[in-house]
């Protein structure tokens, strides 16, 4: 027995409320983030990820407050992402009680930001979030990085990008398949495998979980270190505990 694979529920939050995990479309209210985080923690979540999708400046202050409330009641690691663009943004979230921050679009615009962030705050708290979409490739499939919620192509190869981010000091990669996000068809495990086998840091798979076996497949087929899901937990379709029992039944080491 050794290190357990992690299950990470993700809270997409808009103006202080959890909204449905399918980003950008069909937003449904899924509750108060502090209450939801506590429930996940009690059910045995290994970490919680809080993604702020609030656009407005006022919403930002709400987010900092919410992060602070979660951090004073939930004693497992907390990652905060969404709109992290400057070292001050990172400092603000860490001071509010976040343990890690997820950097996405800002890394693409300025990769050296990741290096500066890792140097200032340590790699252990710098997660680089990557949104990847499959594109035509020879001989096998390739994936490209997209920004702005999957709308803007960048021409950057996803696997090379992840390696570069790790070289710059990212402590972990949060890898979302834009093809699968919101589909409930399961992770893109070829993508997961391609990235996970080519970087030395842990990789978190995200995007597409609809049933518990998808979580197990992320580990068994995708080779990832952690699996992230949102909507299957928000509406109590499954509890974290059920997810862990399922994974344990498939021979995966988990924290029960």
């Amino acid at each position: 027995m050794g290190l357990a694979r992690r299950i990470i529920p993700c809270l997409d939050c808009d103006n202080g409320r959890v909204v449905k995990g399918v980003r950008f479309v069909d937003i449904r209210d899924a509750g108060d983030p502090v209450e939801v985080s506590k429930r996940y923690c009690d059910e045995g979540a290994d970490e919680v990820t809080f993604l702020d999708i609030t656009a407005s400046h006022e919403g930002r202050a709400t987010t900092v407050e919410t992060v602070g409330e979660i951090a004073s009641q939930v004693f497992i690691p907390l990652t905060v992402g969404g709109g992290i663009r400057t070292l001050d943004d990172i400092r603000m979230m860490l001071n509010a009680g976040a343990d890690k921050v997820a950097i996405n679009t800002a890394a693409v615009f300025d990769p050296s930001f990741v290096r500066a962030a890792a140097q200032r705050f340590g790699s252990q708290c710098i997660v680089v979030a990557v949104d990847a979409k499959q594109v035509a490739g020879e001989p096998g499939p390739k994936w490209e990085i997209f920004t702005h919620g999957g709308r803007k192509p960048t021409g950057i190869d996803a696997v090379e990008w992840c390696q570069r981010m790790v070289d710059y000091g990212a402590g972990e990669i949060l890898l979302t398949s834009m093809d699968r996000d919101g589909t409930r068809e399961g992770f893109d495990n070829r993508l997961n495998r391609a990235v996970s086998s080519s970087v030395r840091t842990p990789v978190i798979a995200s995007g597409g979980v609809g049933v518990l076996e998808h979580l197990a497949a992320g580990v068994l087929q995708g080779g990832v270190d952690a699996v992230l899901a949102a909507s299957i937990f928000h509406f109590r379709q499954f509890t974290i505990r059920q997810a862990k029992e399922h994974m344990a039944g498939r021979g995966i080491e988990v924290r029960l």
């Binding site: 290190l3 690691p77 509010a96 790699s123």
Partner: protein, 218 residues
């Protein structure tokens, strides 16, 4: 009223640990005053001291030396319970391989080593570095801080370097990640953990509670 000082030498996020001990203090109905501080006098007067740490050792040691934190910790551990966490534990050792080699405080005999690029599990599968997540901690000897914590409980780790001591008698708990390592070291008034009790939910909060009730010396 009992007082606890969390030593703040400007590296990383100390709010987690302060919030966790405050929470545990309330649960235990203790009148507890927690100060996150670098002030030598406040630390000298505190009933208990937490020596945390995250980030790279060179930067940590630079600040520890600049603020004379080593002296504060050395004094505290003579007379009062001290809990060192993660890089705090590593800073207690004599030397770290990180950042090309950095001299540390030498308050506990031993050194800090890198996991290595080619770390593998028993089945030969390559292991990721940092060691990040929940791993089991085997309690190698009884200690007041283990009270009520089931043996082999999982704690949250995040680190790429690990502490090694020749003094096996000081090791209080071990974990396995490619190799066996010291997850906890205890020496008289000091208890040091590589893992983060403040992020380890039930088991971690229990350990912090034990620390708040511990009067020192195992």
């Amino acid at each position: 009223m009992s007082t606890l000082a969390v030593i703040d030498y400007g590296m990383g996020n100390l709010h987690s640990v302060a919030k966790a001990v405050e929470h545990v203090g309330r649960e235990l109905s203790l009148a507890l005053d927690v100060a996150v501080t670098a002030d030598a006098q406040t630390i000298a007067q505190a009933d208990r001291v937490i020596f945390p740490g995250v980030g790279a050792i060179r930067d940590c040691m630079a600040e520890i030396n600049r603020l004379n934190v080593g002296k504060m910790v050395a004094e505290a551990m003579q007379t009062r319970p001290v809990l060192a966490i993660c890089v705090g534990m590593q800073a207690l050792m004599a030397y770290s391989e990180e950042n090309g080699g950095v001299d540390c405080l030498g308050l506990i005999p031993g050194q800090v080593r890198y996991f290595g690029e080619e770390l593998r599990d028993a089945a030969g599968a390559r292991l990721k570095v940092p060691h990040m997540g929940w791993n089991e901690v085997r309690q190698t000897r009884a200690h007041p801080l283990w009270e009520g914590v089931p043996d082999n409980s999982r704690f949250y780790f995040v680190h790429s370097y690990y502490a090694q001591t020749d003094r096996n008698d000081l090791v209080a708990g071990t974990s396995r990640y490619g190799k066996e390592m010291a997850a906890a070291i205890a020496d008289r008034n000091i208890f040091a953990t590589q893992f983060h009790p403040e992020k380890s939910q039930k088991a971690g909060l229990r350990l912090l509670g034990n620390f708040l009730l511990w009067s020192g010396e195992a």
